[in-house]
Subunit: 249 residues, 8 copies
């Protein structure tokens, strides 16, 4: 439940424009709502500053649609990740405001306008193939009110491309670095800037990359302090942490 | 080189109290200083907001002492990690202000007083055995000017101990969670608070913990957004990122 | 061979209503029956208290149908796991009493009514995506005569959903916890209750979950005593152990 | 806090032989007691039916002694695992009733007599080298009131040794099987009996046993339903689950 | 080149019925024949007692057909493994004597009758799903002249099925044991008999079987001396070694 | 940008046939050119002696075509690897000089004739199945001006096939050895010759080859000095290093 | 119990020189003898053709001495592996005929002369460092009556050293190949001979050899049929299988 | 045998100053010399351009001394790696010209002066802790006649230190990059230069570096073409390949 909606209910009761019974009924799903196959955590926005995000892998279009509808009912903005085109179609049939980013495989519904913050997040990729993961991070950061700067394909094989963007990068409040293969870019960026870096290894590569394991280990073992790591291909998680940091400003 | 020292040199030249040649000589090691076995990165404080930290594993006491002396000469505060008692003795013989935290295995020398900031870092452990890693994080955060709150031994086997500290934890600007075994504490804390969490897996455990691998994988796969991860037993790295975040306030 | 059928044969001989030769013929497949590609363990119900369960992965519909028919002939209830829709159709054509649970991918045939016991098994999942594994456990427990309570989607990212069910959970004789990602739920539940917990890691997750390995390691390294573990996605195995425990009451 | 002690306090208040203030003071550490480096979970006996067990690896003798003293004060029986001879000496100097099992590396202090239950736990090893792990399980089960039957060195290389003990094994309410190398014994025992089996892989072996990994994987992949698994060398965990099951009878 | 064909050429020269030049031409491909994409090792039959076996995975039907034709030309019996139905069709169009075993995925062409030897190979599987690997071993042993006894589905979950076949098994000169999951059957058989056992782990299983790794490690760590191991699913390799042993008799 | 094109621009300015503004415009993309999804490293030919090579996996046909067009515009020869037939068709529609090697999955466009050098690279495979990886190496070496000698299917199971080619191999300036399974061929070749060997493990094999891991580890642990290794299936990388070496002559 | 001793007891009863009671007493420990910490498998010589071998790792000198004494009493020859000098001293104090091979770390006691057989086992190592494992195999084969030929340090980095021994090697009935690092020698030997090869990977190597894992994987993935594998450093297991094969002749 | 010594023998025979019998005796150990525990490969200098190098790990001082003496007798320069101080002392007692590099743990004996070549090898480390591995490479390259340039502690956390050395690095004929942790330096250097790079991962690091595995995977997955890899900590191997390349000039 969006904190603003909660406040308006309490206000209504205070003003007498809503009975206690009506308020109780509206509030009874505050902690969570039980759909049988899911217990929707309506309390999360209050507790953590951002509503529950729907991870769509392994969920049926029917389940996703039901969850989305409950969130919209509670006047929460919706962010869903790993959304297949089929799942999007199923939701879109009911919720025309839903928009789909096919590269990032995200779906968003803006019920209440996102409050624009001053925090700046730079999202950097080593190569072209890392862009889908980066876009998932970018969409997440935008939904959380941050200003996003995308800087793509500046991997260390041609490091002058990165240095050319150094001023731009230095203005960030937090940085997401998405890289596959050996993931060296995170350490190099980490050596240049002052703000925290969220490294997200991607499963881009082949052979002994073992679907992102090489990049993951590389990033965990970085020689540059100030770098922390999220799961392989977890663009959402990287964007989320980066935005938590950036919006503290 | 501490930014304040740099500023004082430039001021002296501006005021005429230092000749250009003297200034050039003082500044010539600005980017880095070559000790043969090490190239000391004097530029790091300017570039990244904190001087180089000395990782002592695999370095001889002689090498460590030489590096410390150069840093003290440049009027930088010294933070060294993974310091053996022998290495500390070697440094302490020359630098009487050096202090040693045997649990954390850190050595610090305060050349210029640390500026106290308002940022608050909570450092939480699952068990008693995780304390050495947590202390490394705590010392790092303190050297970076943060106010540190230690909350130890609140693992999920007795979760009421954690909930009892919830108010205290909620006041933090960032949180370090150190846990071995299955590392579940990071996800649980992650589900409760709004600020970013830096999870540091420890090598505490046995059998299929594989020296911290189980906790590492658990933390990377957390179901709670807002959690990022550093290397196994890397208390320094966790404290560093947590402090970068906390001091933005 | 169902123990009741065995008893009825022996009774018939005792009463003279069946000749010794007839009995010998009926009993000759008691230890096992050789189908060439399979040696059906008819003795298992007597020895272990539950008939052989058919694991259908890598078996052809023809093989499955042949085994089912032999079991029905022996008046055993049939439980089959990992059943494809095709395999079910093949069996159903011959055995109209066969029922299929598409989520759990189980097939059951009730030849003799399952004896209802007083043992209670709670089956808990961290998320919606873990439900198929949980359902395999639930069907198994029901076939073994236990009363099953399903509690789904109470993962640690919103831990109040779990605590809300605590009274319900505490009434159980044994508990199955199915969780993917970091599998932390098993440790948290383990810290709250007195009865044994069977943790079943699921392959839900991505990246460094390595198809359930992260959850498996997490569960094996639990800090909560009273938790034991079965193979990844092995809902059947979890339900089986939980039922063995619950029906001792 | 032992439930009996709790009851006697409440009774004393009811009878007027203890003032409310005295009772409050005695009860104030009920949920947990904070020693700084540890938060002792006094509530565990009430919540889980058995007091906290002290895992001594990575704890100093000083820390262990402090925890033991607090538990004895609360009139809880003490079970400590992975106890070094030095740690035992440190405790024994203060607590003369402490006894040490050097094979199992366990320390126990009986403050209140253990209530003898009717539950029977069989503890079986594949080889002589698995005995220390088995003994840790046996001591745990005995502390939890179970009757323990030790059956050692009956591995599958000479399987007639196992079959010779079959009647004895069949009388158990639960069984612990400790085995290293390939861990096959768990599956074989699992095929013979009706009660649940807790398999504990040991780190006995060499080469590609990878310190117990081979046995762990073997046990997780058992073809015998009714087998569940705990961590490598976790005799305590195995004995704990086995006793939870056996004492339900 | 079949040794008998070699002998007939040499005889012909000795008798004067073949000129030296004709013989040279026939013999010039003796060591190997170069097809560009393959260098066919015609010398192998002489050197190792059995002609080259064609491993068809990753080879095109065209390549397979070309190799088969060259072997038939040299009057060698043909054994090909991992043969797809398409590859078989391609060969069969040219070589009508080719036969296909779809379970084992083997293709054979008998150019010269296989000499029947007295060696006996038993091929045992733990389950029904292991039969394809076992069949690959059986076809190999038969092509090498051994008498094969198939004993399928005698896994340790119902170990009386194995013991029932003990006499039959004991007559073998060598034994192949194919098992997936935990692979315990190899150790159990190893404890019962005198002859060497070739254990072949299969990729049957799920979850932490990691496609046969659990069975492989189990078999390598067997506590029964006399067991050796080949690669996962390598029925051909197991049958080959077993036959080398059996035909020494 | 091809160094010759750069020289011609500079010459034109020197001769007055090109204005400074025209030259500036032609040169402005020298360091790199930003296509949004890619930053094309035009500087690489100058810096590293060979233009950027396009790794096509995970890139869309549209992206590949755009990059190729920019390279052709800059008068660079084009080498692209891991090219799907669809991607080739997309490029070929615009660039009729593009040629495709379906075995190697490489695409090449010769804009300026490759300068033939005297360096000789031998490319050796253990088996027929390793040829696609070897061909990727061969195409790379040819694009870099080396003379290539292909020696295929000389694995150690019939080692006389290798020894027969020893003189030919010894004439090489560098050698690529592509092998899957156990990868032993690299060590054997390494023991015979004087020049450096680039070993490329292939994912050919099954079971415990773990998609090339066995060959990779084997090659890294070679007992023959003079052998170095590239990533699994990385024929391009092997051919590139081998050519760098061979063209030094 | 040695078969000859068994026969002499039966003969004595037949001749009347031993009473039935005396015979029963002598035979009562035939299946196994229970020492508490060990159940000695006296039946193994009858069942498997060779008495139980004592694996001394993790056993105390006291336990080893007790087992040895029981075996000597039963007139069995003793072979013990992984024997520390201390354990040997403990046994030797009681059994003066015990001999120790410090390289192989084996102890042997010849109670009844080993019957010399005609079977020949060649034991080959890649390097000098593999000799201890090879010696364990050699001692085992000698105890089993085989004639052993040691051929050491013929690794593939100087393959002419191997070829020089080819005639000698070809005379073997079975071959043990011990190699660390990449383990390529097994495949090369496998390509040259007709008899079965038992490959034993050694933990010789460093870095990515992972204590013998590289050699193990290499040997399992051999391209030469006729090779099978035992556990890392398991010289005993290799010598045992090789002798089973060689003595069939 | 050094090629010059071989030539002088042949010359002596040609001139008549040495009898054929004397020459035969001198030459009879040409291919290799059998010391029982080692077969010294005297032929290697002729075949591969550099004599056998002695890997001392797992060899006794006695064995090492015997091998060294034979090499000195054959007038070969000696390079030994992984030499313990004890082993050096043992050799030095007999061979006073032996010198020891304690950092690199190498021992060298110059019997014939090393021919100085024009090839230049740069040896670069990421940190101070990587120096021992780098020194092993440097000593190897010097023994092979190359000119060596050491550039230490220029890791990517302060990348300006590397760029400061760029001109120096660019003059190299080949480059060794030794780095632990994430090993990113190899990719960055690879992006800057034209000559081949030999990357050697070091076991420097902790936690998820898994003793060099992270750096190894990072280097194998480099995005910079022109980089190849040797085993973890294999400074010798890296220096050997780099020198083979540099001396081609």
């Amino acid at each position: 439940m969006h904190p603003d909606k909660l406040r308006s209910i309490v206000n209504a009761v205070a003003k007498g424009s809503m009975s206690v019974d009506e308020a109780m009924s509206a509030l009874k799903s505050l902690p969570y709502e039980d759909l049988g196959f899911a217990k929707l955590d309506h309390h999360r926005h209050l507790r953590r500053g951002f509503p529950e995000v729907i991870f769509c892998e392994n969920k049926t279009p029917h389940q996703i649609t039901a969850i989305v509808s409950k969130m919209v009912e509670s006047e929460c903005n919706v962010l869903a990740t790993r959304v297949s085109p089929e799942a999007f179609e199923s939701v879109h049939a009911l919720h025309k405001k839903a928009t789909y980013n096919p590269g990032a495989r995200t779906m968003t519904i803006i019920v209440r306008p996102v409050k624009r913050l001053t925090g700046r997040v730079a999202i950097i990729t080593a190569g072209t193939s890392d862009i889908p993961v980066a876009e998932e991070a970018a969409v997440t950061s935008e939904m959380m009110g941050c200003r996003v700067r995308r800087i793509y394909d500046v991997g260390v094989a041609g490091i002058h491309r990165l240095f050319d963007q150094k001023d731009e990068i230095s203005k960030s409040d937090s940085i997401v670095v998405a890289a596959g293969m050996e993931g060296a870019l995170a350490s190099v960026v980490g050596g240049l800037v002052e703000c925290p870096i969220i490294a997200v290894p991607t499963s881009v590569g082949y052979g002994a990359s073992f679907r992102g394991l090489a990049a993951l280990l590389g990033m965990l073992n970085t020689c540059s302090p100030g770098v922390c790591v999220v799961n392989i291909d977890n663009g959402f998680g990287a964007g989320y942490v980066a935005s938590l940091i950036a919006r503290r400003k």
